[in-house]
């Protein structure tokens, strides 16, 4: 059974006088899937990721559902009915998110930042937190504040945080955009490996197809139609 199903999922927005539209024609994410979300910059990968993260309301959703924790939730209906709290609770329980740049809270220690998702989901698990920190090679950094960390270290903390509450689905938005290619490879490996250890499905958005190649088992790429008034990107599995 698939973890997330989406069909005809559309988001529209305006930027600098142009209209943008992102559509997922059809998407099925199975538990443990590793999906690469590729395509040029500015095409709407982040928007799509936010849609999958239940962070953005779709303009239209033919079908949009999440099956996790033994239940199937009609996400399209939740968005239609404006059930923002229910969606927040689903995010806390089932979704992990690795932002482009760390996005760590400066006032919490590394450990406090990682523990955030565990607290928000009500699933504290110190042993798993320390195990993750070890796997990501940040165990010694746990008591430190994010400001004293390098960019790469922060990114690994963000990965640990996204995995700490054992989510069903982890979304990463250009997780290696701010590090050099060598480190990027290491971080992606860590993300994939830790994700496998956590048993979650992984969707990584990146314009860098080469670095994702070989690490992911599915890809989602857009067909872009740029016209007079706007840009439309349709994502299809390939």
């Amino acid at each position: 059974m698939s973890l997330m199903e989406a069909a005809g999922l559309v988001r529209r927005w305006q930027a600098e006088g142009r209209a943008y539209e992102v559509e997922v024609e059809r998407l099925s994410i199975a538990p443990g899937d590793r999906i690469a979300l590729t395509g040029p910059s500015g095409v709407g990968k982040s928007t799509l990721l936010d849609l999958l993260a239940l962070a953005l309301a779709p303009a239209r959703a033919g079908a949009f559902s999440l099956s996790a924790g033994g239940e199937t939730v009609d996400l399209a209906a939740l968005w239609r009915d404006g059930k923002r709290e229910a969606l927040a609770a689903l995010r806390a329980r089932f979704i992990g998110y690795v932002p482009q740049t760390g996005g760590l809270l400066p006032y919490l220690s590394v450990e406090g930042n990682i523990a955030l998702t565990q607290r928000l989901s009500g699933r504290p698990d110190g042993a798993w937190l320390r195990d993750l920190a070890r796997r990501l090679d940040i165990a010694e950094l746990l008591p430190r504040k994010p400001e004293s960390l390098s960019v790469g270290q922060r990114q690994r903390v963000a990965i640990a945080r996204a995995l700490a509450h054992r989510p069903a689905l982890v979304l990463a938005d250009e997780p290696t955009a701010s590090v050099d290619p060598t480190r990027a490879g290491i971080i992606l490996d860590l993300l994939v490996e830790a994700g496998a250890a956590a048993g979650c499905a992984l969707v990584i958005a990146s314009h860098d197809i080469a670095s994702l190649a070989g690490r992911m088992d599915k890809a989602l790429t857009p067909t872009v139609e740029a016209g007079e008034g706007g840009t439309r990107a349709v994502f299809r599995p390939c």
């Binding site: 936010d50 239940l54 953005l56 927040a88 932002p99 989901s121």
Partner: protein, 396 residues
Amino acid sequence: MLSLRLALADLWHEKGLSACFVVALAAILAPLLVLLGLKTGVVDSLRAQLLADPHMREINSLGNRSLSVEAVAEIGRQDGVIFIVPRTRLLAATATLARGDGGNALTAELMPTAPGDPLLAPVAAPGDDGIILTPLAARKLGLAPGDALRLAVQRKLGDQAEGKSLSLTVAGIAPDAAFAREGAFVSIGLLAALEDYRDGRPVPRYGWDGPNAAETRAFAGFRAVAARIEDVAAIAARLEAQGQPVTTRADEIETVLRLDRNLTAIFLIVAAIGGAGFALSLGASLIGHVARKRGELSLLRLMGLSSGGMAGMPMVQGIAITAAGSALALGAYGLAALVINRQFSDGLPGGGAICRLDAVQVVSVLGIALAVALVAATLAGLSAARVEPGEGVRHG
């Protein structure tokens, strides 16, 4: 609670900025506390001075009239009157007092009293065979409570002058404030008997004869006492309206009460301006804080923090800042009050502190500050709860 922890951790992380908020709040609250303390000190001292003078609450009838016992009792039952005693004609109320052993003697004014007389409290009212001396009379006669005393009264009927005397016991010495001159307090029964004798009426209880016929007892006036100084003017007005001319110290009372009202009004105006400034500055600070933290808040929302938890962050911070600011303001007030009270220690009669607050005032000021802060923080909380998930991640 997670948002409580996060909110406090955030405040602690930005100690410098938080300290600015706290100091700004204390800068508004501390002068208000000092102002309220000064108002309280000044007005309370004046009030205490008024209250310390038992004559302040007195309502005395004017001139010599003719009031029945019932009429006096009726006045005593009026709202706000806690004590009343009738009195005889003033001219009839003098007598010669002498030591029981025939020593010193003096002419004293006799005043009526009855049980529960606030003027004599805590000294108990005397019976018909007792007398309470003013301190001056007691000193001149050299008498103490329990000593024997002779009271002599004279009258002139036609060409014939005659007199009677009674043996009384000194039942007590009146407080200093009761009466400053040579005088004595006796029961109204005794005073009425002396008046009857003077007027040439028989006084059977003492076996005194008189040529005039006994008549129904009437009194020339009364001395009443109001429960509170605030009641005096109203009772006096009511009695005047009923055709009872009275004299009171209502003007002096009114001066103090008006000062109290005016100072309170001034304080409220200053407090309203300060409070509005406090609400605006705290509200603006917190909303600005939310705007600045939009990225972080958005991230928390993305990770599934409930909108209640989102709103809780600025609210906890507002309350924490207010609590710390209030504590600082209280400390500053304490220091200022110490300096002011030391500097002006002899500024007020009665020696009371010129700057002081009672617990109720402190709690109310801080309670109002907290309520204002809650309103301001709620606005910030609403703006935090509206932060969308994901709107900040790309900038975070």
